[in-house]
């Protein structure tokens, strides 16, 4: 039993934090929203250079083999910094390329040259316009449309590749990565809102001194801090191929999705009108939190999965 990140893992997270802190991610998001994907692709390749996109690619094709704990800690950092693009989908689809006979794409995924997307059964693919290949679990096609998240578009192109096997494991991985992105998003929203509450004064005093404000932020920390162990617990279950992995991921997704969204609601409310503006950078995280909450399993669907796991298992 050692349920903590080791020094190497913490170092990897710190290196991602440093890379993304220096990258001006809000500018990358706004470029993508305005139709210029070049900054996003450039940052994607820099993330690949430090090894992020190798984490779900088999070793034969330039990857590390699936490392769920490292994937989760990467996605927490990516979410914290607001990194746009089909991140969870690329990781999940990496594990399916062999089964659909597209191994030629795998080295490019690891090196950041190839971006993938994946559509759940009955769902859209995230950012299919960015993807070099789109995979689909179910049937269907849908035109490209804008998401509430300004950096995100969804649709299902006609040439999407149907997945025959391995879909359940891949959708689980997408849900796990999305949960981690949601948790990271919530961490940033909380930190930024705490900082704002410490400095914004009304009635002659910082608003962070008012109990109504303090208690709301304490509740956000409570939700995030008790979602995080579920997230890493699910990563370990996937790593050890435990039979409970599916429902462990569902539990993590429900808790992280709700916690990230609770952070967004608190951030919006406590920033007041400035948080409601398009130009304020934090609103990029506020808008994403709702999308991540529901992508790859709404909290309701995840709770049903958890209960089914307990009743059948």
């Amino acid at each position: 039993m050692r349920f903590l990140l080791d020094a190497e893992q913490r170092g990897f997270a710190a290196s991602l934090d440093a890379l993304l802190s220096a990258a001006d991610v809000p500018a990358v998001i706004r470029s993508r929203a305005a139709g210029d994907d070049a900054p996003l692709r450039a940052l994607w390749r820099r993330l690949a250079d430090v090894g992020v996109f190798a984490l779900a690619v088999p070793e034969t094709y330039g990857g590390t083999g699936l490392l769920p704990v490292e994937l989760v800690l990467s996605c927490v950092e990516l979410g914290r910094h607001g990194m746009p693009g089909p991140l969870a989908e690329t990781f999940a689809a990496s594990t399916l390329l062999e089964s659909v006979g597209q191994t030629a794409l795998l080295p490019g995924v690891a090196s950041g040259q190839v971006i993938l997307s994946l559509a759940a059964e009955g769902g859209y693919a995230a950012d299919p316009d960015l993807a070099d290949a789109v995979l689909r679990v179910g049937e269907g096609k849908a035109p490209l449309r804008q998401s509430l998240d300004p950096a995100r578009r969804v649709g299902l192109p006609e040439d999407a590749i149907a997945v025959e096997s391995g879909a359940e494991r891949a959708t689980g991985l997408a849900a796990l990565c999305t949960a981690a992105l949601a948790l990271g998003t919530g961490r940033h929203l909380l930190a930024a809102t705490v900082e704002y509450a410490r400095t914004r004064t009304q009635f002659g005093t910082p608003i962070g001194g008012f109990q109504a404000v303090k208690h709301r932020l304490a509740d956000v920390l409570l939700q995030l801090d008790f979602a995080e162990p579920l997230l890493y617990g699910a990563a370990v279950a996937l790593q050890d191929a435990l039979p409970s992995a599916g429902s462990d991921i569902a539990a993590a997704k429900a808790a992280c999705g709700e916690a990230g969204y609770a952070a967004a609601r608190a951030a919006l409310q406590l920033h007041g009108a400035i948080g409601y503006t398009d130009e304020f950078d934090l609103s990029l995280w506020i808008r994403r939190a709702r999308v991540l909450r529901n992508a790859w399993g709404t909290p309701s669907a995840c709770r049903r999965r958890v209960l089914a796991g307990r009743i059948d298992g």
């Binding site: 039993m1 349920f3 410490r198 962070g208 303090k214 958890v306």
Partner: protein, 383 residues
């Protein structure tokens, strides 16, 4: 990251499971908040103690097994999974003992801990006073210097277990605020017998009428010097280290909630309406909350000791709200049976859970602590 239990830890767990299987009473004991129930639970403490299961995390010399935090967590999981009785000694074991380990003398530990471990002495806490609840430093009961000890005067209230317990511990003002200069100074941490001359105990019925707590009136009660914990006049710091224990992991272990979540799932399987999606989600949330607490505790057990200080406030918020969620959901599942005072084992648990957000420092105080010490928000008017 590794969540597997090692061979030696698993052996410890198996030994606990096996012992519990052979010893846990087949029928539920009467409520420990009643006279006969209290006696039955004290006898159960003696049975646990006889085979060193009453205080597994303590050193062997005091009746424990030197168990690590992880082994204690595993023991607690087995204990509650086995449906073993509630712990009548928990105030002493979880609140007083940690203070004695940290601030007590060797003589105090040798005299007090073995009898606590065996259930021979059951302890009550005596913190709150009529004018000092969340604002504990407002307390006014006094300790006056006397030959060879102290004389206690005043009153304490909401003292859990005091209706039937043998001894109590609490803070007393030994130097008036005008002289000490601050409300947190001049307080002395003392232990006293509940049957001493000058002590009057008046039981208080909680919501279900059972005398789960009491008022304690003190009229010139003599306490010898050897029953002062730490330095006279410096009791606040020692008491606050105890408060952290009450809020944290040790008072309410994840095992309690994992077992309750299991029982809730069983109840859902038996009585749940598959079409009632809202209730199904609440059952799932309770399962998720219990698992989150378990994993959070495993993380704490992997690091340096357990959560202390402000982090224990997060634990207290989590388990107290989880306990209510579990029991409220169970009562809803029971339908018309849910209002019955003997609704399976859930009704008494529900009444107990209602107190969770109040005792050990209200959840409002905990949120203040989290906001100020973990988030760094400005200190409010409190304190």
């Amino acid at each position: 990251m590794d969540l597997r239990i090692s061979g030696a830890d698993q052996e410890f767990r198996d030994e606990a499971r096996d012992w519990l299987r052979r010893h846990v009473p087949a029928h539920r004991l009467p409520s420990l908040e009643t006279g006969p129930g209290f006696a039955a639970h004290r006898a159960w403490e003696q049975e646990l103690h006889a085979d060193r299961w009453s205080v597994v995390s303590w050193p062997r010399q005091y009746g424990g097994r030197d168990a690590s935090l992880l082994r204690w967590l595993l023991f607690e999981e087995e204990y509650y999974a086995a449906g073993a009785p509630g712990r009548v000694s928990q105030n002493g074991i979880n609140l007083l003992a940690p203070t004695l380990f940290e601030h007590g003398t060797g003589e105090q530990r040798a005299r007090i801990l073995p009898e606590m471990a065996s259930g021979a002495t059951v302890w009550a806490q005596a913190w709150s006073e009529p004018g000092a609840g969340s604002d504990l430093a407002a307390l006014r009961s006094t300790a006056r210097r006397a030959d060879g000890g102290w004389l206690l005067d005043g009153s304490k209230t909401w003292s859990s277990r005091a209706a039937f317990a043998d001894r109590a511990f609490g803070l007393f003002r030994s130097t008036p605020v005008e002289e000490s200069g601050a409300r947190h100074r001049g307080l002395t941490y003392l232990m006293f017998p509940l049957d001493a001359p000058g002590v009057t105990v008046r039981p208080i019925g909680r919501l279900d009428g059972k005398p789960a707590f009491a008022e304690i009136f003190l009229d010139g009660v003599f306490v010898p010097d050897r029953d002062v914990i730490g330095e006279a006049g410096r009791g606040w710091r020692a008491a606050m280290s105890t408060a952290g224990n009450e809020r944290g992991l040790t008072l309410r272990s994840p095992g309690r909630f994992l077992a309750a979540a299991d029982r809730l799932v069983a109840l859902w399987r038996r009585l749940g309406d598959p079409g009632d999606a809202a209730l199904a989600e609440r059952v799932a949330d309770a399962v998720i909350g219990a698992r989150a607490y378990q994993l959070s505790a495993f993380a704490a057990a992997s690091g340096e000791g357990g959560p202390t200080g402000a982090a224990s406030s997060l634990n207290k918020l989590h388990w107290s709200e989880l306990d209510l969620t579990l029991h409220e959901t169970a009562l809803d599942l029971l339908g018309p049976e849910g209002e019955l005072a003997d609704a399976e084992e859930w009704s008494e648990g529900y009444v107990f859970a209602l107190a969770g957000p109040i005792y050990g420092g209200t959840n409002e105080i905990q949120r203040d602590i989290v906001a100020e010490r973990l988030l760094g928000l400005p200190k409010g008017r409190r304190g």
